[in-house]
């Protein structure tokens, strides 16, 4: 799966290959370069530190140094460890196997792309023959409900009718009741953007979770996020036990180290990626492509 990474590692490890025999110091030099590449890609400082430590431990092991192709062995170790970190081989499909109506809750920082992703997700699920209902549970941001209604109109998917000033938990409960009566099998809950340190608003998400018991709780994160990604993701995950991550705005040129960092600190898979502002720009996540991107290929 990580075959295409070899090229990048070829350059990082060119010096390594130049040596007939490898010394521990040669390997450490090469790994220092790997560290820089990862930090430049916004992978979190501690995540990089742990990564380099575990690669070093394996790569300077006697088996590697004594092998006939030590450089190859080192490359393989880096590749394997990166694969582990990116969630290679793990199941990252959406799980909606519950009695309908099934709820999907989207949450995250302000401006991450939640409302847009709600629309994209609704469109995707309808293509998969589900019958989704969009639920505007953001009563704070100016025109947030209007935004979701517009999105719903653009893709012909109904939006539960609410007004600002209502309680988000009550909106979600009423929407579930409405879905029950009208044959919608999936509720997509658009929550307001909030800071992970905002106790009151974080508490609101807990209450929505307790009441609606969403099958999927997706943390929506901007691919351009820097070092803070881990702090934020950890806080949302600790409170809500998220089921996955949606990484948005990957249509730009951000290296996307946030993906790796979030995956590493929460252990939760990135399930979907946003590739544009249009409502069909939602794709499944490919760990190998992401790893290439982070390494700058």
């Amino acid at each position: 799966m990580f075959d295409s990474l070899t090229e990048k590692f070829d350059s990082v490890f060119k010096k390594l290959r130049g040596h007939g025999r490898l010394s521990e110091e040669n390997i450490r030099d090469a790994l220092r370069e790997v560290r820089l590449v990862l930090l430049e890609a916004d992978v979190n400082y501690k995540v990089v530190k742990d990564f380099v430590a575990s690669v070093t431990a394996r790569a300077v092991g006697q088996d590697v140094l004594k092998s006939l192709t030590p450089a190859q062995q080192v490359i393989k170790v880096v590749r394997d460890e990166l694969g582990l970190l990116m969630g290679e081989g793990e199941d990252n499909s959406l799980d909606l196997a519950a009695r309908p109506p099934v709820s999907i809750m989207l949450c995250g920082l302000q401006g991450a792309g939640k409302t847009t992703t709600c629309g994209k997700l609704a469109l995707k699920l309808r293509k998969e023959k589900r019958n989704p209902l969009l639920v505007p549970a953001d009563v704070y941001r100016p025109a947030a409900i209007e935004q979701l209604k517009t999105v719903g109109r653009q893709i012909g998917i109904p939006v539960y009718d609410t007004q600002p000033g209502q309680d988000p938990v009550a909106i979600c409960e009423a929407a579930r009741h409405f879905a029950d009566l009208n044959g919608y099998d999936t509720l997509i809950l658009d929550t307001a953007g909030r800071l992970h340190i905002d106790q009151e608003l974080m508490g609101e998400l807990s209450r929505i979770k307790a009441s609606l018991d969403p099958r999927e709780i997706l943390f929506v994160a901007d691919a351009m996020t820097g070092q803070d990604a881990v702090t934020v993701a950890k806080a949302f995950d600790e409170l809500l036990n998220i089921t996955g991550v949606v990484l948005t705005k990957l249509d730009g040129d951000a290296r996307g180290g946030a993906a790796l960092s979030i995956r590493a600190v929460t252990g939760k898979p990135v399930k979907l990626v946003g590739m544009g502002e249009k409502l069909d720009a939602l794709e499944t996540f490919h760990p190998d492509r992401m790893a290439q991107r982070i390494l700058g290929m």
């Binding site: 025109a143 935004q147 351009m224 803070d228 705005k249 040129d253």
Partner: protein
């Protein structure tokens, strides 16, 4: 902390602070390099002295020669607000409109984002909050036409300041960046010299990509200043240090919340202080 010696551990700790505040590897290495030079072989190198030196170095990179915004330089004084998606452009405009109108200035807003769902409605609500007129067209219409009407209206209504919102766009989307150029030309045609300030809004949670954003927006629409939003979270926004160095762009404002009063002038010393605050 107190009683600590300057050793490899302390230097590593400083490096960690700089990197996790998103200053980036290049700036971090430069700063670490200058520290090592300054304290090489010095006896009086206490952690406190180290920290002070570092704060000076960073502060120097942020205190640029740029003149402050002079709203009386033109009438109407035109501010165009640009940036990638979701950084806080519309909200910052809402706060700025309030700030300026509470100083007695007559402000007009132009809803130049005709693309995003309910973007104009969002700006209209902000306009209502501070009693400021908003010029808008229907969704999907030409943003240059909004700019034209907004400029005309600002002149006709004898506004002191016109602030034009634009749709969020990634700096890599060539056609969307071209569209911004066209909007600029329209403003300049209607009000010579406009826009007088082009503000790039950056989200403090953004990492190294913010530098690329600033570079490309500067190239295409000659941004003259930065508004750094979302500093009320745990992100430090350290990338503006690199931006200050490389692009000589001053930070004009910081956003510290979603409320109408949550906009502040940028103060380098406070900002640097916050970089080193551990929670």
């Amino acid at each position: 902390g107190a009683g600590k010696k300057v050793d490899a551990d302390l230097l590593e700790e400083i490096e960690e602070i700089l990197i996790t505040a998103d200053l980036g590897m290049k700036t971090t290495r430069e700063l670490m390099g200058s520290l090592e030079k300054r304290f090489d072989g010095t006896d009086g190198a206490t952690p406190e002295a180290l920290r002070r030196a570092l704060q000076e170095e960073i502060g120097a990179r942020l205190r640029l020669e740029a003149a402050p915004i002079d709203y009386s330089a033109a009438s109407p004084f035109v501010i165009m607000v640009v940036g990638v998606n979701g950084v806080g452009k519309t909200t910052t405009i809402g706060k700025l409109a309030h700030y300026l109108s509470s100083q007695g200035k007559k402000v007009v807003l132009g809803a130049g984002d005709t693309f995003r769902a309910a973007a104009a409605e969002q700006l209209v609500i902000w306009g209502e909050r501070s009693g400021v007129d908003v010029i808008r067209h229907d969704e999907g219409s030409d943003p240059a036409a909004v700019a034209f009407d907004a400029a005309r209206a600002a002149v006709a209504r004898k506004a002191d300041v016109l602030i034009l919102d634009t749709a969020g766009r990634l700096h890599t989307k060539v056609n969307l960046m071209e569209e911004l150029k066209k909007v600029r030309r329209v403003l300049d045609r209607e009000i010579p010299g406009a826009p007088h300030e082009t503000l790039l809004v950056l989200d403090a949670t953004t990492g190294q990509n913010a530098l690329v954003q600033a570079r490309l927006f500067k190239e295409t629409v000659a941004i003259s200043g930065i508004a750094l939003t979302k500093l009320d979270g745990t992100a430090r926004g350290g990338i503006v240090v690199a931006i200050g160095c490389e692009l000589n762009l001053p930070v004009r404002f910081v956003g510290i919340g979603e409320g109408i009063d949550d906009l502040r002038p940028f103060e380098p010393d406070l900002f640097v202080e916050a970089l080193f605050q551990r929670d």
